[in-house]
Structure formats: C-alpha cells, structure tokens
Amino acid sequence: MPEPKIRKFSTVIEEIFHEGGKPVATPLKRGTILAVIENPYAGAYHEDIAGFMKDLEPLGLTMATQLIESLGGDKSAVQGYGKGAIVGQAGELEHGALWHVPGGYAMREALGDAKAIVPSTKKVGGPGTRLDVPVTHINASYVRSHFDAMEVGIPDAPRANEIVLALVMTTGSRIHARVGGLKADEIKGQDGLR
C-alpha cells in the first residue's frame, strides 16, 4: 500500500482561562490536529485492510509532533490525550479502526513514556460531521479531573472517499475540576489505570 494521500491538515488550539469560576494563572490548553486522507478502501468491501495501519505510522508521528509544537513545544506539559476518526460515506466503520494502533503509537512515541490506553471514538459521516474525541490522563486512565473531550470537525471533510484522522492533547485537568476521584498527584503509574 502506498503512503497515505493527504488533502489537508487542520489544527485547533484552545486556551481556556475560566468557565465562570476564578480565572487560572496558566490557561488550560486543548489541542487537536486533523489530517484528511484518501480512503484507499472506499467504494468496495476489502477483506484485507490491516496493512494500512503500518502505512499510517509516519503520518501519525508527524501529527503528534506537530500537535506538541502547536501546544507550545514542551512534551512534558501534555497531561491528557485521545484520538478518533471520521470515515466518509463510501467507507466503513472498520476503516476508522485502522487508526487505533498508529494513532496511539504516534502519541506514545512523541510523548515518551505515556502508560494509559488512548481513549478513542469513531464514526461514519460527511463534510462538517463533528466528533467528540474523549480525553483521559496519559498515565492513569482513572484520574477523574482529566476526563474530558474535545469536539473536532472540518467543514469540507470527510468527502465520501476520505477519512479524517484526529489526535487530541490537553495540558491539564478540566478548568474547574472539583468532583473528586483519583488525583493526578496520586498516580502510581504502574498499570496505566491508577
């Protein structure tokens, strides 16, 4: 399989100062990078698709590196992550699942030693379809303050024969997190969960 054919990239960086409470000294950043690629399997059922995961790895790494850069360039500032895919209507949900391995690999590679599973979601949709990408802590999935999500999408993508691939990173907890649970400073960091 040839390397992915990219039509466009889109990045969105949010800086959040408050949400009705006291403004914080260091704003929370939530960022996403999206790549619109051609779906090599659009329009027909293909039994053997798994090889494309390997082909997506370099693109994933480029996206993860660029996202860290867009968040300020310090990978140690990244505390939460998530990933997702929107498959155009000539494709199937299973094509979105091709992003699980390369998307996760890319963020772990770029961030160093992240231990937790990368939460994900996927759907079939058309241009402008929005996707709520789930976000959890990079080292311990149960950290309650970091359960979050970022809504992503592109007005003109995915076309029928395209896939939108998404990575999301955050630099902290929800802006006024206060519902208890496991805290980031209580992480044991052994199993990726707690």
Binding site: R7, K8, F9, S10, T11, V12, E14, F17, S70, P155
Partner: protein, 194 residues
C-alpha cells in the same frame, strides 16, 4: 485588558491537494477567536464605547495570534477578514461595535499593513453555531483569487451572555484558483481596491 476573555482558540488549515492535484506551496489559513463576556447582555445600552475599545484590543491580539500560528513574517500575510457572533442576550449592534469603529488599525499593524477594507460578517447565535469569516486580499479588495472564507465553530460558545470575536488571516489565496480577474501580480496598492 478591558476584554474579559473566557477562552482563546486558534485554527489553522493547510491544504496540500485538491481533486487529486497537488497544491504547491500548500494554501494556509488561520483564524483566532476570543470568547468574551458581553458587558451589555440583557439590557439596552445607548453608548457602546466599551465594546469599541475591546474591538481595538482584540484586533491586535487576534491578528497577532494568526500571524504566530502561521509562523510567517507579517508582511507575508495576504488576505484577512473578521466576524462576530453575539450570544442570545446581546444584539447585532454589539458585534458592530466590536468590528467596525476601531478594530482595523491594530489589526493592520499586526498583519504588516493592509490598504483594503477588512471584509466582515456578523450574526446572533448559540453554542455550536457556525461562523463564516469572509476573506479578501489585504491590499487590493478586487483580487479574485483571494475571495474566500473560513468557517469556525465552538461547541460551547457563544453562551447567552458572550460574544465570539474572530479574525482570519492567510498567506495565500484559494487552492488552484483559476477564474481570472485581478491577479496578485497586478496589484497597484494605492486605493485598497486594485
């Protein structure tokens, strides 16, 4: 700062190909959005001068954010535009106060001059509504290759008492522009039109 900002969001779009044809160099657009408290929400106020001052502040801040996100020298900015969406407890005139009397000068300083009118649009809407920011060449409004727009939306904005203020800046025109008209190489740059 007089603006009470809840969040700042920067969008960057980079188009590498269109209809399978490479776009080289890629076209790039940035939009910077501030979500601010509407000081006049819920009441009729005759004198909107506070929002006029906020408009001036945001012209420089958001214009600068776009240039920073594109990573370019301000003189390489090619087109610009502005827009605002007022939450349901405000009026369209609040958007007008932000966009028209005082925003232009600091915006032009941020993007390294600009002789042309800054194209604009405004609307009232709720969280998640889509805002289309019109784009035109910054030195000559009639440059046809640079008539364009950029779409932004934020799922949590504008709340009823907020306003979303947006500025878009590009370093390029449309991908594969080919419908004639005044070309960028033919700009006289005297009157802001041609």
């Amino acid at each position: 700062m007089k603006a009470e900002i809840r969040k700042l969001v920067v969008f960057v779009e980079e188009t590498r190909s269109e209809m399978g044809r490479p776009v080289s160099p890629p076209t790039r657009k940035a939009a910077a959005v501030a979500v601010i408290r509407n000081p006049y929400a819920g009441v009729y106020v005759e004198d909107l001068s506070l929002l006029i001052e906020v408009g001036a502040e945001l012209g420089g801040l958001l214009g600068g954010k776009c240039i920073e996100a594109l990573g370019i020298d301000p003189k390489h900015a090619e087109s610009y535009g502005k827009a605002a969406m007022v939450g349901e407890n405000g009026e369209l005139e609040h958007a007008a106060a932000l966009l028209h009397p005082a925003m232009g000068k600091p915006l032009r300083e941020a993007v390294g001059h600009g002789a042309a009118l800054v194209p604009s649009s405004k609307k009232r809407g709720g969280p998640g509504h889509v805002l289309d920011i019109p784009l035109g060449h910054k030195d000559a409004a009639f440059v046809r290759s640079h008539f364009d727009g950029m779409t932004v939306s934020l799922n949590d904005s504008p709340r009823a008492d907020e306003i979303m203020v947006a500025i878009a800046v590009t370093d390029s025109g449309r991908p594969l522009a080919r419908v004639g008209g005044l070309a960028i190489s033919e700009i006289e740059g005297k009157d802001g039109l041609r």
